[in-house]
Symmetry: C2
């Protein structure tokens, strides 16, 4: 999967290199001096200046607004490497875009003008995993799934599970405060991070947080850094709390004849006061895609699917309540332990990398208060009709976190000149309606670069100004991932 993704990224960005002609054509004297100083602190294999590599590392999986190539790509292999790199950049006022696996979808790791890309993928060691303390200490480049595999040997798990968990890194998860499927029960990344090692904008190393589950000494700098998308510091070490791997898991697939009824099923489970580990809502567009990819016949069974997993010692009893509640709401519910349902969850879990967003296909990440799920879905469907764009929705429904994707098929500019205008109008409208319902523009993906255009709609100026001042305090020269997150 990781290989596929990297190739996708490369394939996708090759066509964009023309836009950076001025950078590609050659460096200025200042840039050459900087690159020489940078290389002086690294071994040869740790820096690349060739165009192919710079292109491959110039973007993450988010929509791209303005292509740039980095001056170089560097791979840190130690905390000291990161400190040296940051000091070189600080001395030459060169922006640093830190990057894990590049699986972000908001453009938080897109290259900016004149930057270097600092890859942390080689810092991939699990430094400690203490099954009695139920904690682990990892370097930022450790893949989420690898930490989970190591924890599973002790009956433990690292709870945050973004759909990219087989390829994304813990450092990247921390940078975006990544969510995932089982957050409603187990929390988001911030809830699992106890302590951080962070290289600040001056190259100094800061340790925040505590090794214990609880700790309230001083301000919660750890929480401030989680989700800051590499704009306040570069995470070089993460202490996480592990949770107990549930021994029993029950999976339920409930098919509905329309999406709104399925969304109502989510609320019905909540009203029954049952907390599933996973509650994924898939609309007809998503079922169509799954059928096309897997040769299945999900569409013949319903227009929408609610996938629920209960886990732990009460999993069976909880599953019984869930099945009853959903059946009462008109769903066709699998009544026995269902291999198919488990397979569907796996498909959903591993759905990242299947398609890439671009200007004609934009996946969103709106969260709304749970009671508004049904209304919001109805509004989305109306928008798709009104703007003549295609829509599919998948949601971490337990959190009210929806991923609607608006897209256009085979757009021919000659016959459909305003296609992009309509697509963007649908996007803007969905954001506006989501915010009106008390929602947020990003539940778990981060603002990155792409969602900056909407941030002002959610956060008034005083909130934004306070964040700018915090950014200034941490990074007065503005070299850490400028133009992102806030």
């Amino acid at each position: 999967m990781a290989g596929t993704t990297e190739e996708s990224i490369k394939g996708r960005t090759v066509g964009r290199q023309e836009a950076d002609q001025q950078t590609v054509a050659g460096h200025s004297d200042t840039q050459r001096a900087f690159l020489a100083s940078l290389a002086a602190g690294l071994r040869p294999g740790q820096i690349a200046e060739d165009e192919a590599t710079r292109t491959a590392y110039s973007v993450d999986q988010g929509p791209l607004l303005e292509p740039h190539l980095p001056l170089a790509v560097v791979w840190a292999e130690s905390v000291e490497d990161v400190q040296n790199i940051v000091r070189s950049c600080a001395a030459h006022q060169v922006p640093i875009v830190a990057r894990g696996a590049g699986t972000g979808v908001s453009g938080g790791a897109h290259a900016t003008q004149g930057c270097i890309v600092l890859s942390l993928e080689r810092m991939n060691r699990i430094l400690d995993l203490n099954p009695d303390d139920e904690t682990a200490v990892v370097e930022p480049g450790v893949i989420n799934a690898e930490l989970n595999a190591a924890a599973a040997e002790h009956g433990l798990m690292y709870a945050p599970d973004p759909a990219s968990y087989k390829m994304s890194t813990i450092g990247g998860n921390v940078a975006t405060n990544a969510g995932g499927l089982r957050c409603a029960k187990y929390g988001v990344t911030r809830d699992s991070v106890l302590a951080l090692d962070v290289v600040l904008a001056d190259g100094s190393l800061l340790h925040t947080g505590h090794q214990t589950f609880k700790g309230v000494a001083g301000y919660d700098l750890t929480a401030l850094l989680v989700g800051s998308e590499g704009t306040l510091g570069i995470v070089v070490g993460v202490t996480v709390r592990l949770k107990y791997l549930p021994r029993e898991v029950h999976t339920i697939a409930a098919f509905y004849q329309d999406f709104r009824s399925a969304a109502a099923g989510v609320l019905a489970v909540g009203k029954a006061r049952v907390q599933p580990a996973i509650m994924e809502l898939l609309d007809n567009g998503t079922l169509t895609q799954l059928d096309e990819m897997n040769g299945s016949d999900l569409q013949t069974r319903g227009k929408s699917l609610l996938l629920i997993q209960t886990d732990g010692f009460g999993a069976a009893a909880e599953a019984d309540v869930v099945r009853q509640v959903l059946a009462e709401g008109g769903a066709t519910v699998t009544t026995e332990a269902s291999e198919e349902a488990e397979m569907l969850v796996e498909l959903r879990r591993n759905s990242r990398g299947v398609e890439m967003d671009d200007e004609f296909r934009v996946g969103e990440d709106i969260a709304v208060p749970r009671s508004r799920l049904v209304d919001f879905v109805a509004e989305l469907e109306a928008m798709a009709d009104r703007f003549q764009v295609r829509l599919k929705v998948v949601a971490h429904a337990g959190d009210g976190n929806l991923h609607p994707t608006f897209w256009m098929d085979r757009v021919d500019p000659a016959t459909d000149a305003d296609a992009l205008v309509r697509l963007n109008a649908a996007l803007d409208e969905s954001i506006r309606v989501g915010l009106d319902m008390g929602g947020t523009i990003t539940g778990e993906h981060g603002v990155g670069q792409y969602k900056l255009r909407w941030l002002g709609l959610e956060q008034p100026e005083p909130v934004r100004e306070l964040q700018r001042r915090i950014k200034e305090l941490f990074d007065p020269a503005g070299i850490l991932n400028p133009g992102k997150a806030i």
Copy 2:
């Protein structure tokens, strides 16, 4: 209980007023001008300048190092009141000590030189409780237990449950990032707070966070403010996430012949990968106290008690595993559903207000990594012997969060001149050993004023300096609870 506490506070501080003769004797012209401007924005019943009231509100339940009386006590009844009060204070450079119920135990709400005390206890309305969204919006003065009572009507609960939950306020819980008994399973205050309304040092009103379960737009200002003990802003509104009230609860009381075996039982439950809702560890000193208070005979049954509650759909199955694991570790375990065990949990839950800390009795709040629980307890017992001080320990053992209390009985300065020296040596030593084991000086009570002396042992200067700069950014004149938290 609240009444008892208030009386205790009054009784306790009356003897200390001599120390503030200069304040009590009369105000300077500047102070008089300030008080006039303050009163101008309030109704008569919202401000008190009499000595009895100022004395009663001059301290929380933490040990007092340096007594001060506030210039006045003011009761805000609205957000606008808080804004007006802060603006008056800002204009006159008068420090503000905000306060909920005054149940803090680190001196975070102790009056400082020349301050006013701003009580938020009258802002006690639950503004919204949405059972479908599973959220509530409350004013800061709402009592934790009252929010829980309102939530329980809908099968919901507000999870953080400090032992003071029957008297402490949500605002105070937010200020200290309060923990409690069921945190190991349900998280601390920060994990339940979605959004905050905060009056900043210039009197402006800031709204942080989101109404949704997930949200990653911008920096996590909410998490930064939670636990900041009124030093960055004054919380005037709190949006919380509610969790599901478990329908089934099983309670287990396990008696041990020594405290270390009981601590080992905590790890054994963890190794079985069962997550109890509550896991309280009580030593012999605590059992003695409970027997004295309640006429029970706990001491005849063991020298230490581990109280465990499992909850939710799997509660019975989890309780079975817990009983088996503990019995294998040498415990005498209640084998049937035990009313006594439930009564013991209630006693533990409501143990606040029974005794007050003072210079001869100091309760600590150290947390250590779970694997060090047994070692740390052994060290504490050795310290008590070595320094000839009395010790009792109660612990939220699932979190590794211990509350050792060191104290002296009937100290006679004539015969035991170095009693205080020994007590403080034991305190300092316990902190040092806890930190050496990877612990923290405060798991859930906050640094307040009393623990500042140890903060430098836990946090190196760069971490402290960064916090000072964040404080400066939020409160450049330093009027918000100066000399606390960082």
